[in-house]
């Protein structure tokens, strides 16, 4: 497994259905563990990716016959994951940090993604679809 990889891309196109989120977690677990991420990092990546996929499925406004795309870019020292839907998009400016003390049930997803991943970028806009890109760096061995 330890040959030199410069850059590899794996892409998954999946229907907008909640049933597939667990399958996507299986896929990313396989990728991340073969890259050498530890258990804690793998859990972080699984949660962040699931949040992004849940958003595409719940908020994208696409029908179950349409697909969204998860792209994994595997480099020597980092994993970059993008989740792109072709749905209705939204305005990132209106996003607020969650106010848990008010017991709001929503608004945790993107906050969690930003907390767990090293770098997060969102490209979205009204009827442009949404693409969220998140990076996890491999930690240096101690």
């Amino acid at each position: 497994m330890n040959h030199e990889i410069n850059r590899e891309m794996i892409e998954l196109s999946i229907p907008h259905r909640s049933e597939y989120v667990s399958m996507i977690r299986l896929t990313v677990t396989a990728i991340a563990s073969s890259m050498g991420f530890d258990i804690e990092d793998i859990e972080d990546i699984k949660v962040a990716l699931s949040e992004a996929c849940s958003n595409a499925i719940m908020h994208g406004g696409c029908s179950a016959e349409e697909n969204f795309v998860v792209q994994f870019i595997r480099e020597q020292k980092r994993l970059t994951i993008s989740v792109s839907d072709f749905g209705k998009g939204y305005s990132v400016q209106t996003l607020q940090d969650p106010k848990l003390e008010e017991l709001n049930e929503g608004g945790l997803g993107i906050f969690i993604i930003r907390s767990l991943m090293d770098d997060v970028k969102i490209k979205t806009g009204s009827s442009q679809g949404t693409s969220i890109t998140m990076i996890k760096n491999l930690r240096e061995e101690a």
């Binding site: 804690e40 859990e43 969650p98 848990l100 945790l108």
Partner: protein, 105 residues
């Protein structure tokens, strides 16, 4: 992996014990919500969640907890969680949920 739920009322401590086994995500959160609602309709009480076999949860599951807390707090009841995996504790910590429900260990 799906989600299995076992619920029972502990008469001694007067609370619901909810054993979650598997994964709570967008696909299974609805089952959890339904189970909790049925419990609380049958009998109001605090809920202890046993996390020994809870492999995964994300915001779709945490939202169920938050919605339930909203109901329970009105009656001075609470959610207690026990034996959660480190990754799940981390998630409660990040979101601040560990300050609202009771982490028993």
């Amino acid at each position: 992996m799906a989600l299995k739920i076992q619920k029972s009322f502990n008469e001694e401590e007067q609370l619901w014990v909810l054993v979650l086994e598997g994964e709570v995500d967008l696909h299974t959160a609805g089952i959890l919500k339904k189970a909790v609602n049925e419990m609380l309709e049958e009998k109001k009480g605090s809920i202890r969640i046993m996390g020994d076999q809870l492999e995964y949860i994300d915001s779709t599951g945490l939202s169920v907890f938050i919605g339930t807390l909203k109901q329970l707090q009105k009656e001075n009841l609470n959610i207690l969680v026990r034996n959660l995996k480190p990754s799940i504790k981390k998630l409660l910590n990040i979101t601040g949920l560990d300050k609202i429900l009771v982490v028993e260990n």
